[in-house]
């Protein structure tokens, strides 16, 4: 029998959060953490969590699994269970709405700051703005981000200053548009990042790289942004 400990908090009923213990017979199968949550929800319908695609594409079910942020749907029990115990908490650092559901407003506010869309005021060509295969290749490792917030909520700099530090997810996306050959707002984008918080609160501890369920490297992207700032300002 698998022991599962889950963070529970319903602000309408509970004075403060608590950990609730469950036991579950997994019949020895190496199922995903999301399957465990679904089975427990069948027993206790008040258990609340986000989920959608159940295949690591939508980014809805980011939770803290036995101390490490990840997507419940693509994390097998074999990678998450320690001493026959599975501990599931909400992603840390953002306000909890209920149980494993967090308020991601601050995360999206930082994403919005970096203007996550192509800016190009030159007349549009008849069909589309073309890129060479080399220019397109620069976006690999950047465009795959699904904004699950596992990285930003694993980052102490984001915990302490979620209103000022853009965070690894936002910065990965910032570089995705800085690196895009079709975007013409590079200087304006860089000017908005050159303060002591937006980019430079990253101290390169690489928690983001360790937890990214898509295997992306925000620290490397942040390094590229620093280099671009250095090149344009010196």
């Amino acid at each position: 029998m698998l022991e599962v400990s889950i963070y529970r908090y319903n602000p309408e009923v509970d004075a403060e959060p608590y950990m609730q213990d469950f036991t579950l017979d997994t019949q020895g199968k190496d199922i995903m953490v999301l399957d465990v949550l679904e089975k427990l929800k069948a027993e206790d319908p008040t258990l609340t969590f986000r989920r959608s695609c159940r295949e690591g594409v939508c980014g809805s079910d980011g939770v803290n699994i036995s101390g490490k942020n990840g997507l419940a749907c693509i994390t097998p029990l074999s990678a998450a269970v320690k001493n026959n115990k599975l501990v599931i908490r909400p992603l840390p650092g953002l306000p909890v709405i209920r149980d494993l559901v967090i308020d991601m407003s601050q995360f999206y506010a930082q994403y919005e700051k970096i203007q996550p869309y192509l800016i190009n005021n030159t007349p549009a060509p008849a069909i589309e703005r073309l890129q060479s295969p080399e220019e397109r290749a620069k976006l690999d490792g950047l465009y795959e981000c699904i904004l699950c917030a596992c990285c930003s909520t694993a980052c102490p700099s984001f915990w302490w200053n979620p209103d000022k530090f853009i965070g690894p997810a936002g910065l990965l996306q910032a570089y995705r548009f800085l690196a895009d050959s079709r975007d013409t707002a590079t200087e304006e984008r860089l000017a908005k990042l050159d303060d002591p918080f937006s980019v430079f609160r990253c101290h390169g501890i690489m928690n983001c790289v360790q937890v990214c369920p898509k295997g992306l490297n925000p620290t490397k992207a942040i390094g590229h942004i620093r280099n671009m700032l250095l090149t344009s300002a010196t």
Partner: protein, 122 residues
């Protein structure tokens, strides 16, 4: 863009660059002093004075002291703006943070001026 007025260089890039350059200067100074002790493990008073009264050495020591001051200020400023914030400890945080920033400036200035006095007093 986040506006700040108490960081060293007013821009994130300049603080970051200063942090790296000052670290390089401190490393060079440390290696030089370690090298000096490696070549001359127990210098007598005259040798020590002669080393530190040469102008290039005084300038190197001064550069290192200024690097320590800048490095310390940037580092402490980062720590204070991480942990001594309204978000973490409530509305008194701004006053407490400013107090510690002033203390840091006072200590840094005190040591820098004292070090210059020692260097040029040899």
């Amino acid at each position: 863009m986040v506006t700040t007025v108490t960081n060293l260089g007013r821009s994130g890039l300049s603080d970051w660059l200063m942090q790296r350059l000052s670290a390089a200067v401190m490393t060079a100074y440390l290696l030089f002093i370690l090298g000096y002790f490696f070549i001359n493990p127990s210098p007598n008073y005259e040798q020590w004075v002669s080393l530190h009264s040469a102008l290039p050495m005084r300038l190197f020591s001064l550069l290192t002291i200024l690097s320590i001051a800048a490095h310390a200020w940037i580092g402490i400023w980062c720590v204070l703006t991480d942990y001594v914030t309204v978000r973490l400890i409530g509305p008194k945080a701004t006053a407490i943070r400013l107090f510690f920033q002033l203390i840091t400036i006072a200590i840094t200035l005190f040591y820098t001026i004292w070090a210059i006095d020692i260097l040029w007093g040899i």
